[in-house]
């Protein structure tokens, strides 16, 4: 995660995230998420906090609450480890073009609009790559959840 900023800020995010992981380790629920996913989420939120430092009072912790589901979690039927391995498999089924766009979003902090600019692709092409990729993941996971 490059952090969308200079190397120094990226290191700061990494440090803050590590400290958070340490402090919150006891509340980590492995039935809900794999460790990699959990750590990714913490790092992501720390980075958002850093980018919004000019705005005290609204922390990404508040944003985390939007993920708090009040309905039963369908992923609980499988262990998070299984879900993680399955996600890994499914991602191997994506085309190189589709993976490239997703990787750029996660690790180069680019919106789909910025990715289209950088790759000199029409916005519609980038959108349809994302929709195809996410559609494949969603379809496979939904079908497997229904079968359980």
């Amino acid at each position: 995660m490059k952090g969308g900023a200079d190397a120094e800020s990226a290191q700061e995010v990494a440090q803050e995230a590590m400290i958070m992981v340490w402090r919150k380790a006891a509340s980590f629920d492995r039935t809900r998420a794999s460790a990699a996913t959990w750590i990714y989420t913490i790092a992501r939120n720390k980075r958002i906090d850093l980018l919004r430092r000019s705005r005290p009072g609204i922390e990404a912790e508040d944003w985390l609450t939007v993920y708090a589901t009040d309905e039963p979690d369908p992923d609980k039927s499988a262990s998070a480890g299984q879900t993680y391995m399955r996600m890994k498999e499914l991602m191997q089924g994506l085309s190189a073009d589709q993976l490239l766009v997703i990787r750029k979003a996660f690790f180069e902090d680019k919106t789909h609009t910025a990715i289209a600019d950088e790759l000199a692709l029409p916005l519609g092409t980038v959108k349809s790559r994302i929709r195809l990729a996410l559609g494949k993941l969603r379809e496979a996971l939904d079908r497997e959840e229904k079968e359980k």
Binding site: Q11, W22, A26, T37, R52, D62, Y67, M87
Partner: protein, 221 residues
């Protein structure tokens, strides 16, 4: 039942944390109200985890930074209280329709009557050029006919509205119809409350529009 979902590309941008604050808030509120989008965002965090795992360079923080982080850890107690959603009781009565993610933005704010026959709360964002506001329309009331010059995102938080693109209820997400003109009208029942995120000022059409557009452009309205 949510009928209008946020498009996948916006959910990806949101899950990766790359959206500016205004659009991120719109997607956050939609995700809070739409189980389907929430499921996708949770899965996308899984995608982020897989990518992080596969790319050892991605998490490379450097020797010195690692030492420093470890040193800071020495002094910290572990915190084993689970993260609980912050509920602000003082706000709850006026904003009982608002998902938790919105509450920090509306603290201390109240509705004011805006030109065009609706109530408005403008939200302050720092370092983000989007114009973000909550709009409240009484049943049967409409917004003035207008078209958009750039992206507009709308999330319905109470009631519903109808325009030439369809009917939108609580949790529904609308992406501005672009150059097309539209005139949303609030549905019968509870007043329609929606969060609107505008990339740039809208352009009013018709007589009143020509009169007021110069003011809109200057940000006076």
């Amino acid at each position: 039942m949510i009928r209008h979902h946020a498009p996948d590309e916006l959910l990806l941008d949101y899950a990766a944390g790359v959206l500016p604050e205004g659009p991120a808030l719109a997607v956050a509120l939609h995700v809070a109200l739409d189980p389907g989008s929430r499921r996708l965002v949770r899965r996308l965090r899984g995608v982020g985890g897989v990518l992080l795992d596969e790319d050892p360079g991605a998490a490379d923080m450097g020797e010195a930074a690692l030492e420093e982080a470890l040193a800071r850890l020495e002094d910290l107690p572990t915190d084993d209280t689970p993260v609980a959603p912050t509920v602000r009781k003082d706000l709850a009565s006026d904003f009982d329709w608002a998902p938790a993610a919105l509450l920090p933005y509306v603290a201390g704010k109240s509705w004011r009557r805006a030109f065009g026959g609706f109530d408005e709360i403008r939200l302050d964002l720092h370092g983000d050029l989007h114009r973000v506001a909550l709009l409240r329309l009484q049943p049967g009331e409409g917004l003035p006919l207008h078209r958009h010059v750039a992206n507009e995102y709308t999330v319905v938080l109470q009631g519903g509205y109808t325009d030439n693109t369809g009917n939108y209820g609580v949790g529904d997400f609308a992406v501005g119809p672009g150059a097309q003109e539209h005139r949303p009208i609030a549905d019968p029942g509870a007043p329609c409350i929606a969060l609107i995120v505008l990339e740039r000022p809208i352009v009013l059409t018709g007589f009143w529009g020509r009169l007021f557009n110069p003011l809109l452009r200057r940000g006076w309205m």
